[in-house]
């Protein structure tokens, strides 16, 4: 037990260090941007206007001072203020508006893709080389090879042309959520299916499965009690990150369907060159990525006795 706590503490420390480093790196990188990107019309601005604006944004101070200011603000829960997108608005407030929308779509899509992907993978593995396997493989190849931008648009077109669904998201029309959610679940479902299939096939060749068959267990109870129990180990490492990542929204889907979420916001602020917003969103993405990996490692350690009982084994 002590070892497990020590492991979690060490992992937590590494995560905090990581968050610090990423903040510093992102902040410093953003300072590399030329100052004209902070202005709507730099060419027409006077010397004084420029100076005042920079002073207002705090960009005239030396870099360490800026960094210190930024980090202490972060620790107080403030992400700064938007430059252009909604001038003067606190970034945290804007994000708080957007995150629930993204999470709503992301979680619904996950509820669709996870069972579908895993079931597809299981069926593909059970009949390797069969029809389902071939169709599933074609699906996986398609999703992995063709850029999402292409087939998302096709889905949008097909859905609106043939099924009469709304081409854009309207909060008042529940059916307008169908297309975005279905589209959003397609790529992760392919990932889950591919992973499950490979895992099942790998495990099926292992000694312990043969031994379980020799014990007289039915192939279903082997699949459920042995193989799936093993499959939960790597899955438990992926899942926290996947769930957290739904907060960040899908960049493609949200802009295609005009969903007011995080992904759409990112594109907008990039187009508008709102540096503070870009910086905050990038940091937000990095943070949930890092936290997700931390939670994943903890879940892995809890679900795998080889790590839980001997933390030494978590050697990278």
């Amino acid at each position: 037990m002590f070892r497990a706590i020590a492991y979690i503490a060490r992992r937590l420390l590494r995560m905090l260090l990581c968050l610090m480093l990423v903040t510093v790196i992102v902040f410093c990188l953003m300072r590399l941007l030329p100052i004209e990107t902070y202005f709507k019309d730099f060419d027409r601005a006077t010397e004084l206007q420029i100076h005042n604006r920079l002073e207002e944004l705090g960009l005239n101070a030396p870099l360490p001072v800026q960094l210190w200011r930024y980090i202490s603000e972060l620790l107080h829960g403030s992400l700064g203020r938007s430059d252009i997108y909604r001038e003067g608005h606190p970034v945290a407030k804007i994000l708080a508006e957007k995150i629930p929308v993204s999470a709503h779509f992301g979680l619904l899509a996950l509820c669709l893709s996870l069972p579908f992907g895993i079931l597809l993978g299981v069926f593909m593995a059970r009949r390797k080389g069969g029809l389902i396997d071939k169709l599933g493989t074609a699906y996986i190849v398609f999703v992995q090879a063709v850029p999402a931008a292409v087939y998302f648009v096709f889905l949008q077109l097909c859905g609106s042309d043939y099924l009469g669904l709304s081409i854009l998201y309207r909060p008042s029309v529940p059916s307008s959520q169908i297309l975005p959610i279905v589209s959003m679940s397609i790529p992760p479902a392919a990932g889950f299916a591919m992973w499950t299939r490979r895992f099942m096939l790998d495990e099926t060749n292992k000694d312990y499965v043969l031994q379980a068959r020799a014990k007289g267990l039915s192939s279903r109870s082997i699949a459920v009690r042995h193989i799936l129990r093993n499959a939960l180990v790597p899955l438990s490492q992926q899942l926290p990150g996947t769930i957290l990542m739904t907060l960040s929204g899908s960049i493609y889907i949200e802009s295609l369907y005009s969903i007011p979420g995080m992904g759409g916001l990112l594109i907008e602020v990039i187009r508008m060159q709102d540096n503070t917003m870009v910086q905050s969103i990038v940091l937000f993405y990095a943070f949930i990525g890092i936290v997700g990996m931390f939670l994943g490692d903890i879940c892995l350690a809890l679900s795998d006795p080889r790590i839980r009982r001997a933390p030494k084994a978590v050697d990278l």
Partner: protein, 628 residues
């Protein structure tokens, strides 16, 4: 033998595997009866089909394997006719159980031993009773703390403990037959004997039949009441241990027994060649090409079984009643040699390992001196000391054996001599020159030419993507880059011929060679550098019995002809006795006893040496007769 005694009857079983580039005829008509309560050993080399036999009896062939002919009669029914996989479910675990070779990987790593054990009980056992029964089975298999083992995960148990837990799991279904597929080959010698004893005892207390599949004749002799010898997918001979060991009729059986190191007398008999490939139809007796005394008919027709006694039968034309008649028709002198024993070499000096006593080399000069060697792995608290103060001398032209179990530090010593791992303290010197620590390039070059190593598993120690020529020439390229390339290639081919391979083999790739041939290549690439000392780390333990003797003989002749000294590392005492003049016994990183080979075997002093000797199994009738 009455029919009601038989619990499983295998009849004319043919199994074929579909591989990428053709088919493999793994079982070529196996017929075998397993009687109630007996312990039957199936002995054969790798690829002889002994594991496939187990798997097909259990209905557990891999997806690319298929029974193409034959029947499995169990309780009056043919199991192969019941095409439903469900029919087998009542059989597996309940009527027949399997204990596999790699015990630790035979358990699901994420479930406790207890959970996996309890699920092996038949559904009729009430849930409440299961734990109690599981605990009693665990203690019956000799696991000291059953409660603790019950809640352990597989990675927390040692190999021997896993093997015991696995046996307990096989017993859980209360089966009539248990198949043990190489149950001991991954264990240490002392543990091996204990597990074999356990198998013997359980057989008696539980009354199930045991089928012990093994490549190890001694293990078979130790545990089994009946032995079947397999070769190239067929059972070539079957009988009681005494009949097999002292009255073997099939030339393969006799050659196999003769090549066991414990059986080798002064004359070194061994098998030539390698087992046939079952990828092509085999004509006649599969062993004929390796049998110098084979009959013409052996090459044309497969022999049927001929009974010798009611319990003993063999599949060889030598037993055909027409054979003596045919012999008498022939002119005397043209008669076939009745002794089908394989090639015999002229007698070697009585004291092996001291071959060049009369040679020009002075016997007393010390070639290699290891003094107070310590080797540590890891840093800080986790550091473990693999070798704790080992000292020994190796004299010019001698063959010194280091015996110990896995983890005793013997391989670390070899690696330190080859400078693959650094010594923590102590020193190693070769002809008076220190070879550990920092060395100049010239010194490194010198030791490179003088000391070379032969590795345990030739298949792993040879780069599979290089041609044999490149492999053999590699060392020469390093130490004699000044020689023209043609000359280096010539020397490489010469070395190949010296180890008994053909020159054209130089242009083939390693995968087309068998294990024994690969080990010859491993020797050739060392010989081409003409070292004075060869460190051989378990040089034959990964090879088949019938091939081991060939390699040992080759090494002995090298020692004799070229005066090369050997440091031989092995866990196999029988082989040591054959090869070495002196033996050092290592335990936990320390030498516990070191003496001449004769002394060690006749007057072992240290208790550990005695335990090792006691664990050494001899394929002898005396030993076999001890059994119940």
């Amino acid at each position: 033998m009455a029919d009601h005694d038989i619990c499983l009857s295998v009849r004319d079983l043919h199994v074929v595997f579909a591989l990428d580039n053709g088919l493999l005829h793994a079982l070529r008509g196996v017929s075998l009866d397993i009687r109630k309560g007996e312990c039957l050993a199936v002995v054969g080399e790798s690829g002889s089909g002994k594991s496939v036999l187990c798997r097909s009896c259990m209905g557990l062939l891999p997806g690319n394997g298929r029974v193409v002919r034959g029947s499995l009669l169990y309780g009056g029914k043919d199991l192969l006719n019941s095409s439903l996989p469900r029919a087998y479910r009542g059989i597996r675990g309940k009527a027949m159980a399997l204990v596999m070779q790699n015990a630790s990987s035979s358990f699901n790593p994420v479930l406790t031993i207890g959970r996996q054990l309890t699920e092996a009980f038949s559904p009729s056992v009430p849930r409440r009773e299961r734990k109690q029964r599981a605990l009693s089975l665990l203690s019956e298999t000799g696991l000291g703390d059953p409660e603790k083992v019950f809640s352990c995960y597989p990675h927390e148990l040692s190999g021997g403990m896993c093997q015991r837990a696995l046996i307990a799991m096989a017993l859980a279904g209360n089966p009539e037959i248990i198949f043990f597929d190489e149950p001991t080959s991954s264990l240490d010698a002392i543990t091996q004997v204990r597990v074999l004893e356990l198998i013997r005892t359980l057989s008696r207390t539980h009354g199930h039949a045991s089928v012990l599949v093994t490549h190890d004749l001694s293990a078979a002799a130790f545990a089994a009441g009946r032995i079947a010898v397999m070769y190239a997918g067929q059972i070539v001979e079957e009988g009681l241990p005494g009949e097999i060991f002292h009255d073997g009729r099939h030339p393969y059986t006799r050659a196999l027994i003769a090549s066991h190191p414990a059986r080798m007398g002064d004359s070194f008999s061994y098998l030539t060649g390698t087992p046939p490939s079952c990828r092509h139809p085999i004509r006649g007796d599969a062993f004929a090409p390796r049998n110098p005394a084979a009959l013409a008919i052996d090459f044309l027709y497969a022999p049927p079984y001929f009974p010798v006694t009611p319990t003993h039968r063999a599949k060889t034309w030598l037993l055909d009643p027409r054979y003596p008649e045919a012999l008498s028709r022939l002119k005397p002198g043209h008669a076939a040699r009745t002794n089908p024993m394989a090639k015999s070499t002229p007698a070697l000096p009585a004291e092996p390992g001291k071959g060049n006593e009369n040679g020009s080399l002075s016997r007393d000069s010390v070639l290699l001196r290891v003094s107070d060697l310590h080797i540590r792995f890891g840093r800080g608290e986790r550091a473990t000391e693999a070798v704790k103060g080992v000292s020994f001398d190796l004299r010019e032209g001698e063959c010194l054996g280091l015996v110990g179990e896995s983890g005793s530090g013997k391989t670390s010593i070899a690696n330190a001599i080859l400078r693959l791992v650094p010594a923590a303290s102590g020193s190693i010197s070769y002809r008076g020159r220190r070879l550990d620590g920092r060395l100049s390039a010239a010194a490194r070059q010198y030791f490179l030419k003088e000391i070379q190593m032969v590795f345990q598993n030739p298949a792993a120690a040879i780069n599979p993507r290089a041609k044999v020529m490149d492999i053999v020439r590699e060392g020469l390229d390093n130490i004699h880059p000044e020689l023209p390339r043609k000359e280096r290639s010539r020397l490489a081919i010469q070395a190949l011929c010296d180890v008994g391979l053909k020159p054209e083999d130089a242009f083939r790739f390693p995968y087309s060679f068998s294990g024994g041939q690969l080990q010859r290549i491993g020797l050739a690439r060392v010989l081409v550098m003409s070292p004075s000392l060869i460190v051989a780390d378990e040089p034959v333990s990964s090879l088949d019995m019938s091939v081991r003797a060939q390699i040992m003989e080759l090494m002995l002749s090298l020692q004799e002809k070229r005066g090369i000294s050997f440091l031989l590392i092995s866990h196999d005492l029988a082989m040591m006795r054959r090869m070495c003049g002196r033996i050092a016994v290592i335990k936990d990183g320390q030498i516990v006893e070191m003496a001449s080979s004769a002394l060690i075997f006749e007057h072992p002093r240290h208790p550990y040496t005695r335990a090792l000797l006691a664990a050494m199994l001899n394929p002898d009738l005396e030993n076999a007769a001890v059994k119940p």
